[in-house]
């Protein structure tokens, strides 16, 4: 899932300066599961904003709604009906959700209430960890199911660096050394030959380095006539 966390209230208030009426829009998918931008968080943030701006003497009317997925047109299109009455839309979706709203409603101020952090999962209740950077050329079959691109701060491809100790990464004492786990998994899975092979320099052109990425699937693309 995409993992995000809420921006500080003061930063959100600064973004909203000058607004009288705002629509806070939550998203029912990833950011609901990571407790950052679901219906519940929309409620809490909206209440805090109302109270806080009221105390400041510049009360903002904040209304709430949550859609199932902000990143898909069919779920956000119905918002258009009442949009005119709002000075801005405060999105509690991830960065994709915010941009999806901005694309759908050009000319409307769409503001991000969250900082989108990474693709990952909860490793325990209340802890989320990054697991993928979308490099576009997955190597998990070689690395025993552990991603060196997103989990090793030095993005090594050829084994643990000299700072790996007791399974902990030298860069952050709170983080596992990804390569320690990769070695263990590789040995268990009989991938010793892969371990000893000098893995060639990665082709990053499939990653963000290659430019803005898009996928075109002619097999499921709608014909021009239908699109019109």
């Amino acid at each position: 899932m995409i993992v995000a966390e809420q921006k500080p209230l003061d930063e959100i208030k600064t973004m909203l300066e000058g607004c009288k009426k705002v629509l806070a829009v939550g998203c029912g998918t990833c950011v609901t599961v990571c407790f950052a931008g679901g219906r519940r968080e929309v409620g809490i943030l909206s209440a805090s904003l109302r109270m806080s701006t009221d105390l400041d003497g510049e009360a903002i009317a904040v209304e709430e709604t949550t859609v199932q997925r902000q990143c898909e047109e069919e779920y956000i299109a119905p918002l258009e009906a009442d949009l005119e009455e709002y000075d801005a839309v405060l999105s509690l979706g991830c960065g994709v959700g915010v941009q999806s709203l901005a694309r759908q409603f050009p000319g409307k101020r769409i503001l991000p209430a969250l900082n989108t952090k990474f693709m990952g999962f909860p490793s325990e209740h209340g802890v989320w960890e990054e697991r993928c950077q979308g490099c576009g050329n997955c190597v998990l079959h070689i690395t025993g199911g552990v991603c060196p691109v997103s989990r090793c701060p030095k993005q090594l491809f050829n084994g643990p660096c000299g700072g790996s100790q007791d399974g902990i990464c030298e860069v952050d004492p709170g983080t596992e050394c990804a390569w320690h786990t990769i070695c263990t998994n590789q040995l268990e899975l009989g991938l010793f030959e892969e371990m000893m092979k000098v893995q060639p320099a990665k082709d990053w052109s499939t990653s963000r380095d290659g430019g803005h990425r898009r996928i075109v699937r002619e097999d499921i693309r709608l014909p021009e006539i239908e699109k019109a």
Partner: protein, 339 residues
């Protein structure tokens, strides 16, 4: 963690010429001759005056075969290792330029190293680099386009096959660097470390310099595996040593530096050096500590020299470069051979 690592024997070297033919550096000649090599280190200044480089270099004159010039060490911005290396060269000492994968992508690496070679630099140490979060620009973006193994492989192919990383031919021939890497015999997973050294040799390293070695029993075990695998025949192992300056420093290295092993008896010995000296007499304590640190270092070099598969020592002053001469002298490493 006691995972079982399969047996490994280093494949025979069929494609790389003997070390002296790979590169015409002084370090290459010393290593090829079988003489016990001595390298040192010059840390470039956090500024743009040449004098600090010259002063540090002069402390190494006639003490070392070559000196490392660090590259933004600990991710703190300093004068470029290539520029400082040229100043070291002007002082009559052969530099070993360090370069990290943190600050440059493959384009910048290749281009800077073409230039470095053109200007007379002949030894290169290929490193991953310390993470920028611990340095003085923690907000910087790191690169890590390639890792240290891939870096070695790229440089070996530039030298031995005259090709750029992309496969294009280098007209007029590639830079003929003697290629080094780093090795930490004490990092985890411990069992992996000899294999990692083998991999560095396979990637193209002619030599490695190790992390500071204080724990000789543990280091002997490591070297035994390295020799048994046939790795020491294909890569020159230069062992990092350095004088302890105080009990506090010994304890700090033992307890706080990841991947460092300092045995308790050494810490106790440092402590014993100041026994009976009043805590208030700071200068006296410091002198006693430093004398003991030099003594320990000399003894360790002598023991290390006797270990099978060791090709030399890398003496690190750690902000105390004045100690290098008495250490080299005391360990019987002077005068350095002229080859």
């Amino acid at each position: 963690m006691n995972m079982h690592y399969p047996a490994f024997r280093m494949p025979e070297n069929t494609d790389t010429p003997p070390i002296a033919e790979r590169c015409d550096s002084k370090l290459a000649r010393v290593l090829a001759s079988g003489e016990f090599a001595v390298t040192g280190e010059v840390g470039p200044p956090k500024g743009c005056t040449t004098e600090p480089v010259r002063t540090k270099a002069r402390l190494l004159t006639d003490c070392v075969d070559a000196a490392n010039v660090t590259d933004n060490q600990t991710a703190v911005v300093r004068m470029s290792s290539i520029a400082a290396g040229l100043i070291v060269l002007e002082e009559g000492i052969e530099p070993i330029i360090q370069m990290t994968c943190r600050d440059r992508n493959r384009l910048a690496m290749q281009s800077d190293l073409l230039g470095a070679y053109a200007l007379g630099i002949k030894n290169l140490l290929c490193l991953s680099g310390d993470h920028q979060s611990g340095g003085n620009h923690p907000g910087a973006k790191n690169v890590h386009d390639i890792d240290s193994m891939q870096f070695l492989r790229m440089m070996k192919e530039m030298r031995d096959e005259n090709i750029f990383q992309c496969g294009e031919e280098i007209k007029g021939g590639g830079p003929r660097f003697l290629l080094g890497g780093a090795a930490n015999p004490f990092a985890d997973p411990a069992q992996w470390r000899p294999y990692r050294l083998a991999k560095k040799a396979l990637a193209g390293a002619d030599f490695v310099q190790t992390q500071l070695v204080y724990d000789l029993p543990k280091f002997r075990e490591y070297m035994k595996r390295v020799v048994d695998m046939g790795v020491a025949e294909q890569i020159k192992v230069i062992v990092g040593v350095g004088p302890l300056k105080s009990t506090g420093m010994a304890k700090y290295m033992r307890d706080r530096v990841p991947g460092m092993s300092v045995p308790d008896p050494l810490v106790e010995r440092m402590d014993g050096a100041v026994a009976g000296i009043d805590k208030g007499k700071k200068a006296d304590r410091s002198t006693a500590w430093r004398n003991e640190g030099i003594k320990i270092c000399i003894e360790q070099i002598q023991e290390i020299r006797a270990i099978d598969g060791v090709a030399g020592v890398h003496i690190m002053g750690i902000e105390w470069e004045e100690a290098i001469r008495p250490i080299a002298e005391g360990a019987g490493l002077l005068p350095r051979p002229i080859i």
